[in-house]
Every structure is written in C-alpha cells, then in structure tokens.
Amino acid sequence: MAVIHLKDMAHSYLPNPKVPEDYALKSLNHVWEDGGAYALLGPSGCGKTTLLNIISGLLTPSEGQVLFGGEDVTRLDTAHRNIAQVFQFPVIYDTMTVRQNLAFPLKNRGMAPADIEARVAEIAEMLDLTERLDNRASGLSADAKQIISLGRGLVRNDVNAILFDEPLTVIDPHKKWVLRSKLKELHQQFGFTMVYVTHDQTEALTFADKVVVMHDGEIVQIGTPEELFERPAHTFVGYFIGSPGMNILPATVDGRHATIGGNEIDLGCDYGPLAGGKIEVGIRPEFLKFGPVGKNGGEGTFDVQISSVEDLGRHKIAKAVSGDIEIAVLVPEHTPVQEGAAALTFDPARTLVYQDSRLVEGAN
C-alpha cells in the first residue's frame, strides 16, 4: 500500500504538443493518500482512462513523474508496479479453475506452492468463493468473474493500489448493489488504495471517500461527496454532480451583491468589485425557495414565471424563467406550487460566485 503522487504530470498522444488542446491530460499535481478510496468521475473522453493507464503503467506520461510511496515508477512497467486492476469486462483465464485463477499471479512470481495454497484459501474465504474453488471459471456469472478478477489482485500482499475501470458495466442492476457493498467492505478490511473509474455519479458518490472529477483532460476538483455537492470548485462539477445540476447564471458581482438579469440578490461573502473574465453565480436547485408572491415582495426576491412543474414523487422540480434565464428549483413534497408568476429566494450562504468557471473565495 502506498501514497500515489502525480508530480507535474501531463500526457499527450501527439509527439510535439504545443497548445493546451494537444494534451489528453493537462498538467496535474496531486497526492492520493494511502488507503484512500478515490473515484475518477467524468464523461467519456475526459481523460480518466488515460490517467488510469498512466497509473497502471500501460502508458508512460509525456511529462512529469508518478511516485508510489516516494519511489519514482514513471518508467517502470506494469508488472513491476505492484498494482492490480479490475477491467470493464471480466478478465479471467477460461481454461483454469477458480483456484488456479487466484493462484496465477502468485505462481508467476515464484511463490512456494504451500504458501500459495494458504493464501488462496484465505482470500477465497473472504470473497465467499471457497465452495466454488474447483469449478471451471468460464462457467460463472459476470459478477462472480469480477470478484475473481478482484481476488487475483487481493492475493498479492505487495499490492500498492487496486484500479477499477468501470467494473460494474456488465453486472445485472440488482447485483450491482451487492457487489459495491462487498467492495466497500473489503476496502475497509484491507485498507488498500483504491482508484475507481466511472461515469456514473451515484456509483462514485456512494463508493468513494474522495471523488476526483475530471473534465477536458483536467482534474477540476478532488473532494468528498459533500464538498462536491456544497462547494463545487468548477461550474462543470456543479453541473455534472446532482440531479438536476447546479443553476449557473451569468451575473455581475459587487461586494455582497450580485445582479442577475436585472434582479439583485444577496451573497454570503464579500467579493469586492469583481471584474474580468466571465462572471457567473451558481446555486443548487435544492437551495432555492419560492418566496412570498408579488413584485418587490422583499429583499432577495427574484421575479420569475414558473413555466413547468415536474413531479418526481419525493420532490418536484419547477422550471422558472426570467427573461432568457432558466432556473431549476427543487420543491419539497407537500409544498404547493403551480405554473404562473412567482418570486424566488436565494440562500445567500449557498450562493457561489464563479469567475471563468472557477469558484471565487469571498471574504467574510
């Protein structure tokens, strides 16, 4: 188990990258803690697979270093990095039994047969595979095969990190939950560093301690699920996490006030006179309320027309329109809401300011 340090690392598939667009992965400098559970989250093409391949050693980054526990492994090949990986589709050795599959990595490393036997038995016990040890691996279901792939990583006690590349893609929906809790349980038990690639936010948020959100070849935020929800560091995070995503509204900001399409709202902090770049205000639909109806009903109100209401059972989502701005508002169950004129109240503490898509920290 080891700390993973990505030091000034960048990667381009082109031989002579010049402009930032040439990079599949823009310069990163991050330390991932030992024993952490990290989820790499982002849409397809954001560079998460590239990053995973660099960590596993299938790709050598064009710039910078990868350190495992302080040791530079940038140029070390996969076999010598002591990592394990579970792939999108189950990779098992068809002709072997479950036992032989689990023993394979140890056998390749020249471990004594008696030790292999003991270790395999131990891991099989933990993964509930003991009963099936002598079955042919090819006949098992997809989730059992994924468990075996994981087991091939776990049997080695020198593993620095276990990488998961969208491991639940081919698993039946009702088995996903079982497999995910099993993974979590094993993580707590073993304490290995875990990197989990996914494009599914629920999977990432329920699974990881820290979620690494990627966008356009960049890590835009690393944070706990709460942090991602409450203080997205980038408008992309706000928009990508949560359903519906954060409202991002073009605005002008001066001190503790922001003006959005002619309406003025209060902010929780003092931003001074903010100028330059694209200024936006972000607020989650969860933190908006329909205030007292009527024009100029009070401070912080924002006149809108509710154009549609969608009932999702536990809550409703109202679409409010002001000029050419569209705002999603989450309305709790049992709160009446109907189409027509209304006024919105912003929660000042939850109203965030973005300059060129990045979060601006204000003074209290």
Binding site: S56, L58, D77, T78, A79, I83, A84, Q85, F87, Q88, F89, V91, Y93, D94, T95, M96, F104, P105, N108, R109, S149, R152, G153
Partner: protein, 289 residues
Amino acid sequence: MQRKLNQKAWFLVLPVFLLVAFSAVLPLMTVVNYSVQDTFGNNEFYWVGTEWFVEILNSERFHSALGRQLLFSGIILAIEIPLGILIALSMPKKGWGASICLVLMALPLLIPWNVVGTIWQIFAREDIGLLGHTLAAMGIDYNYTHSPTAAWITIIIMDVWHWTSLVVLLCYAGLCSIPDAFYQAAKIDGASRWAVFRYIQFPKMNRVLLIAVLLRFMDSFMIYTEPFVLTGGGPGNSTTFLSIDLVKMAIGQFDLGPAAAFSLVYFLIVLLLSWVFYTVMTARDGEAN
C-alpha cells in the same frame, strides 16, 4: 441462440437439398452401382457383390497409396500448424502493416491449383528454376523428377507455400478476437510470454485451430492437382497419393468396378473424419453457449 421449432423451415432448405442431392446423391449412386458390378464393355454388367471391395482392401497398390497419403498429411500438419501459429502470433495486429500481410499472405490461396504446380515446376527445375538452379550451383544434388526424396520435399514445400496462410489467417482471426484487457491483466499478473500464449492466446485460438487442423487434414487428404502437375505421381509411384491413384484407375485405365470401390472406401474414410470433426465442433458450440 435458442432456435424455434418450425417444420416449414424445410421449404427454405429445399433448394439446397435438391441441388446437392442432384450433384452428390445421383453421382454417388452411380458409384455404388459400379462398385458391385463388372463389365466387359457394351454396357453389359454382371453382379459381383463385394468382390471389388475385397480386391481393393487387399491390394498392395491401395495400401501403399493410403500409406503415402497418411504420411503426407501427417507431415503437412506437423509443419503448417505450428508455423501458422508462429506467424499469426508475430503479425502486426492493426494498421497498414496488417492489411499488407493479409493480402500478400492470402494470395497463394487464390491461385488455381494447377498454376501452383506450374509455379513450383518453374521455380524448382534445375535448368530454369531459381531454387533448382541455386541448389545445383551450391553443389547439392537435387532433381525432383528423378529422386523420390527430392520430389517429396518439393511437394511438401509447395504445400507449405500454398496452404500455411490458411492456418495463419484462421489463427489471426482468433487472436484478433482477444480484447486488450486480457493482455493488460496478464501483464499485471506478471505472466511470462509463454504463460500469455498458454493461458490466453491458445485457448482463444482453440476453436479456429480445430477448424484449421481439420480443413488442412481433409484438403491434404484429397490433394490431386498440384502434385499431378509437378510430378505426375512420380518418380515411379513415389508421390502417387489416393486421388491421383483413383483418377489413374478411373479415367486412365477405365477400371470402373475397382475405381468405384476405391472411391467408396476413400469417401467413407473422409466421411468418418468429417463426422469426428462435426461432432467435436458442435460439442464445443454447446459448451460455449
């Protein structure tokens, strides 16, 4: 795939059934007819029962042709299968290199069989051939029209030249169906090159390799045109394989009865082999589903 029971499907199969019945069953019945009769010309036939079969099965001529045939097919398989696997393993997997390899390697498969014989005749002759001339210049005594050993070697090299590509293409198709993740997983598991072959590539090639072995076995078992053009079955009878012998008997000597009995025995041997082939194939299909 689960298939529906539908007897009307017979209508879809009917054209094939009639066509193949016409071009296979009718001729086979003629053969059976001849195999149990004798003739002295003038279309007069006499019932002789199993006499021809007994004669063929006991004839030195048939035994030696069968022996040569089995030896030849055995040597062909022993060379072409491992060589084909080796070449397929070392071929580029994608890009223009792969396309060029595929096109050039497939080329010998599309040359008419007699032209294959002609090409090797021209290539191996001592007086005008590149190979024959070079060997002679090196002081090696090589003349495939006089020495049975040289004739055998030439025919075997010719067959390797002609058909190894089939094995290569089959194995290549098998290899291409292996997802990259398997190779990555093997790297992570610290597998050696041999282990990758033994546990990933070989199992995936298993199926196509079986097709390759059996196709090559059958086709080499029926080989006629190439050795016929190259050596005419000689020198002596040293390269007279089953098909060459049969055609000699049927067309050359017009021994209808023995030739027909020969045909049936020959066909039954092949049929038995293709039954084994088919059984193993479908057993595998069942296992895969």
